[in-house]
Symmetry: none
Subunit: 214 residues, 2 copies
């Protein structure tokens, strides 16, 4: 299933690697033209298209949007567009915009069909055992779709005072009830008129690695 590259395609890939190393940025099409003695931008553009459908590179819009994709036993199929990059945010302080640059530790690729199209999504690292009965373990990354309110019973990321937490969210008698999924824990009841309590978003996915720590 590994789609092989032709000699020429191999040359193009090598030129991209070289340029990245030498220049500290991906090459432009014109630079590749000079490198490979091609006199038309389309000559290069076609190669790039092939390299992308074969899964060796990934292209983003804008200038020099070539990214190398790691060798893997399985290559991306043609026309693969179910891809989104979701930032992993570290400390999220109350008030500050969550997706501010300084909060983003790294960006992880995931299927867009999970992240959702055109919505603000980010990963939050889970600490503690309060949701283990829902299969959310300490160290997992939950994918959160940013929104300011959720329907009763949804799993939500909520900010209480200055701390972010993930719980099942209910609104009862004007109070907010955050229900853990762990028999050892008690529900947290918050009176929004007394304590600062703000929905950050709803949990739409989960990513776990048994290999690396986040």
């Amino acid at each position: 299933m590994t789609s092989r590259l032709t000699d020429r395609q191999e040359q193009v890939l090598k030129a991209i690697r070289q340029a990245l190393k030498r220049d500290g940025r991906p090459p432009s099409i014109h630079e590749l033209m000079a490198e490979l003695n091609v006199s038309s931008p389309n000559g290069i553009a076609k190669h790039l298209g092939v390299l992308e459908t074969k899964g060796y590179i990934h292209r983003e819009s804008g200038a020099r949007g070539i990214r190398l994709v790691n060798d893997n036993s399985y290559q991306a199929p043609p026309e693969h567009t179910d891809l989104a990059f979701v930032p992993l945010v570290g400390q999220i302080a109350a008030g500050s915009p969550i997706l501010a640059e300084e909060n983003v530790e790294e960006v992880l690729p995931v299927p867009q069909s999970i992240a959702g199209p055109g919505v603000e999504v980010f990963f939050l690292k889970v600490k503690g055992e309060s949701m283990i009965e829902e299969g959310i373990m300490s160290g997992d990354l939950v994918m959160v779709e940013k929104c300011s309110s959720v329907t009763n019973g949804e799993i939500a990321a909520v900010m209480i005072e200055d701390e972010a937490t993930v719980k099942r969210f209910y609104r009862r008698d004007g109070k907010i009830v955050l229900e853990p999924a762990n028999a050892l824990y008690e529900p947290i009841v918050v009176d929004p008129s007394i304590s600062r309590c703000e929905v950050v978003g709803r949990v739409v996915g989960l990513l776990r690695s048994y290999r690396r720590k986040f």
Copy 2:
């Protein structure tokens, strides 16, 4: 050789570092404008000029010509994006190659740092509640690294007769013990000399969507 930076200049430098790491290419002035909430290209251009005269960056002509100078934290953009495509396999029949074209339902992008470099990895859909105490729920996709043996106690994908299952794997007294993570289930003990029982691989990750069904 290098003079001190102001707070704001430090922020610009940090934004450049993060963009390099995140995007695999230097940021454009417009991207920095968005990051730093500046509404004029000149606002950024001046900072870049200062950073260059102070010796923190070096600029080349052309688009995205920012290079970091003397920066231990980051020299060049990464040669590889942390991206791998992992196939979701449906029915896996005994004997047949797992990654055969006809088994692959779709291909999902994930961080390469989870999938692992250059190994055969695939997604298997989980059915049943037998591993819920390990946070593996029905409908989850487990990422499996193909291998023919695992160490005692690892979570493994195992093929018994013609069915694939995910359990904790132990070898005791010449028998194979597959231990569920659910108090309601009993361990499965298999005598490999009697029943066909074959390790498919070890579980290295997990992907869950609350949005779509797989």
